[in-house]
Subunit: 324 residues, 2 copies
């Protein structure tokens, strides 16, 4: 490996001068600069980032924690964060937490040892005490962790209300909800939105609510039971698209026609919903964009610790497809 010393020797200057050229700060004569540049070129010298990190205490790396990259919601988020990291000269680290707090803590410690510069968390298991007093910048994405931790999310509550309103407008008279896990903030908000929209309807019945785990299979089973016990249901608001797929499959297996006999609306707007048949109407999140913003905000926090930064709540948008 060629070091700054080799360059200095070849250019007949001190390492300090080479350093000045590399980082172009400090005074350096035009002609010596040329010499140094040439030596760098000639030796194909690249500064060692590890040494730099050691000196600066910063690594130019940021990490994203997601439950599981195999869940189709997360790749787009990851892509966005990686794009922005890359654009700003940061290296992107991906961690799958499986929603397990001990994994999160283990990753966190490992990354701190590596002088990670900042972390974006999609987490429903990190506790308030675990995130406060952290010396590295953190941002919550998709799920709020606590009110003091900056977050980038969408208007889950409003979006849920809009989804239910849309089903009503389509003529649904008995609207059910398949919710996400209660420990996930966005699932709670979507549930609350549903509830506020239906609780005063004379037809409302708490049997219309079931809890899913944001995965296809659970929703499939839940929907079968739901529709068999409550055949009067003519609309379902599903808390995410993945479960929406499960609902479509359940309806198919019960020979219930969509949208004629049952309307279904999901949440998220992942590409998958476009591929099912019938395709899935959904409240689409600006997925790429929230990932992008989280990364931008994080980098802002890293590079300008004093700027005031606020949480952001982005808007979801109705995308009507064949399931309604």
């Amino acid at each position: 490996m060629t070091t700054i010393r080799d360059v200095a020797k070849l250019a007949n200057v001190s390492v300090a001068t080479v350093s000045r050229v590399i980082n172009n700060n400090g005074y350096v004569n035009e002609s010596t600069m040329q010499r140094v540049r040439q030596a760098i070129e000639q030796l194909n010298y690249r500064p060692n980032d590890v040494a730099r990190s050691l000196f600066k205490g910063k690594s130019k790396m940021i990490a994203l924690f997601v439950p599981d990259i195999m869940n189709p919601f997360f790749p787009e988020l990851a892509r966005a964060v990686e794009d922005i990291s890359n654009k700003h000269g940061y290296t992107f680290i991906l961690c799958n937490t499986d929603n397990q707090n001990d994994k999160e803590i283990t990753y966190l410690n490992a990354l701190l040892q590596k002088s990670i510069d900042g972390i974006i968390l999609v987490s429903s298991t990190m506790t308030t005490s675990q995130v406060k007093d952290m010396k590295v910048p953190l941002i919550a994405l998709d799920r709020k962790i606590n009110p003091n931790l900056i977050s980038v999310t969408v208007n889950n509550y409003e979006g849920a209300r809009q989804a239910v309103q849309y089903l009503k407008k389509q003529g649904c008279k008995r609207i059910a909800h398949i919710s996400g896990p209660e420990n996930i903030s966005n699932a709670r908000e979507r549930f609350r939105g549903y509830l506020d929209e239906v609780r005063d309807e004379e037809w409302f019945n708490s049997d219309f609510i079931c809890v899913g785990n944001y995965a296809v299979n659970d929703a499939f089973e839940a929907t079968k039971k739901l529709l068999q016990s409550n055949p009067e249901i003519d609309g379902i608001f599903v808390a995410n698209d993945l479960m929406g797929v499960g609902v479509l499959k359940a309806a198919e297996s019960l020979k219930i026609k969509i949208p004629n006999e049952l309307s279904v609306i999901g949440f998220d707007g992942i590409e998958l919903g476009n591929i099912t048949s019938p395709s899935l109407t959904t409240m689409a999140q600006p997925i790429y964009n929230i990932g992008k913003r989280a990364a931008e905000i994080l980098i802002q926090k890293i590079e300008h610790p004093n700027t005031v930064i606020k949480s952001e709540e982005h808007k979801v948008k109705l995308i009507t497809r064949e399931s309604t």
Copy 2:
């Protein structure tokens, strides 16, 4: 930040001793070991990995290059690599290359500056000269780069033949192929498998072949044209599942019944194929497993540079679903 020096001071020993305890090598008295352990505990000391990396010239980080994590084939690969990295104490870096060689080279250089320990490449654009004489271990995954670079792939050629044979067995008399990009090794092999299986059939017609780009939309358009000009086609072997979805959609839009009028078989075995209706018959790769093996081999190469390592070709497996 608390350093090894702080621990040494508190335990009344030298940094050397602390280092011995941390890495448990060299002799150290049981009782002093206790003292040191306690001091570490008390100060909640964690060794600084950056300093370690600087000294060792290794970073305990490995990277995976994929074209685009948003393509549903790659998350499972990424998950596998991350799992294995993590298990062996490595940090996982993800890079999206968009199949662009300049991006690959930029990433490569950036990672070398960070003393990356090894890289797994899913690449169709890296050249032989770019990968040879690399000082860090490289492994090709999913796509071969050149015969000298260790690779973990599947038996694309044989799998393609099996796919076509299966269509024949289902009674197909005119079998078309939608291939992947010619610069991707696995696409070429799958194409060759198809060709060797059909070239001697009296019905064979080179119009039955079209080139796709491994994405849904292209295949959708290609299939429409293909089926309109050649209505006699009753079977399609599609080079990957993503394009398989495009084929299904095209058939639907042409009101062609699957599998009655047309049988479709894909390649890859991504979860998506299970969700379409009809669901997609496919030659499934052991996706997680090849990612896992690539990571294991890479780590082997990193930690035991002298062991002889060979390329691996894993087997694909027919999964019959509703499209045939």
